[in-house]
């Protein structure tokens, strides 16, 4: 358990800054400026960047001590597969969170998930962002 907590802390120190910054920007844009209501297309780059930073976080986690216990030992190919899969998992969790938030707040005029197409495009963009970093990680892996 101590090893796992250490692994999580090291992963957060090494790669946590990226998704935290993007989440903070998202929160400020959303809550502070209602930016997504004024510029709905802003959603597109934000989900792409979201995919990039969450995949970067998992990549950083895969390079921390004891990562082989919690994420396995990888070749170039398997690292790419693992990072893509973890990005997909994070993407689903994000959409769950948005759906839950929409359901709990009940604000029909300020919903995060406006339609199925929007939700699907969000997930696809997240995956594409993740693929960029997963490819880079696989190439740089030794």
């Amino acid at each position: 358990m101590k090893d796992f907590i250490e692994f999580c802390i090291n992963a957060l120190k090494k790669g946590g800054w990226a998704p935290i910054i993007v989440f903070a920007i998202h929160a400020v844009l959303s809550r502070g400026f209602s930016a997504y209501a004024h510029f709905p297309l802003l959603d597109i780059p934000m989900h792409f960047i979201g995919g990039i930073v969450i995949c970067y976080f998992f990549w950083a986690a895969s390079k921390t001590p004891n990562s082989e216990i919690y994420l396995g030992q990888h070749t170039h190919f398997s690292l790419f597969v693992m990072l893509m899969a973890l990005t997909a998992f994070a993407t689903i969790m994000w959409e769950f969170a948005e759906w839950t938030r929409d359901a709990l707040t009940g604000k029909t005029d300020a919903m995060a998930q406006v339609s199925i197409s929007d939700t699907m495009a969000d997930m696809l963009l997240g995956l594409v962002g993740g693929a960029v970093i997963a490819l880079r990680a696989a190439i740089k892996h030794n």
């Binding site: 919690y70 994420l71 398997s78 690292l79 597969v81 998992f89 959409e95 199925i116 699907m120 997930m123």
Partner: protein, 139 residues
């Protein structure tokens, strides 16, 4: 390339029957007009079974020749993480495929956002059940 082919053929031979059976049932209900016969909530257990069977396929793949090269070397914990994450990837790709199919064929497999989220959730739960079993049985 030969190694990759051998790696792919192993789960196809040993475990593809499971997700294929669920897929055939799903497609039959939609395309043969059986949706009037089955209860309204029919897709909930189907998505759960979809998660179970696709995760079973990945678990089998993790035992294939050259699996270390293509899926990595795993402990119990990391195998659980990998299998749940791969199930998530399959769930996302499935929903995107349904979305494209709906757009192309003017059908409505994805009724609402809530339905789609529920589908993915059920798939993940199904995957987690098999991933847990895989992790326990992992040596």
């Amino acid at each position: 390339m030969k190694e990759f082919f051998e790696f792919c053929m192993y789960p196809i031979k040993k475990a593809l029957w499971a997700p294929a059976a669920v897929f055939i049932f799903y497609v039959s209900v939609i395309h043969l007009g059986l949706s009037d016969v089955v209860p309204e909530w029919w897709d909930i257990p189907v998505h759960f079974l979809g998660g179970v069977t696709i995760c079973y396929l990945f678990w089998t793949a993790s035992k294939a020749p050259h699996a270390v090269k293509f899926l990595g070397q795993h402990t119990r914990f990391s195998l659980f993480v990998l299998l749940v994450a791969l199930t998530a990837l399959a769930a996302v790709l499935w929903e995107i495929a349904e979305w494209v199919d709906d757009a192309l064929s003017n059908r409505e497999a994805q009724v609402t956002v809530a339905d789609t989220i529920c589908d993915m959730f059920m798939g993940l739960v199904g995957g987690a059940v098999v991933a847990l079993r895989a992790a326990i049985k992992h040596t």
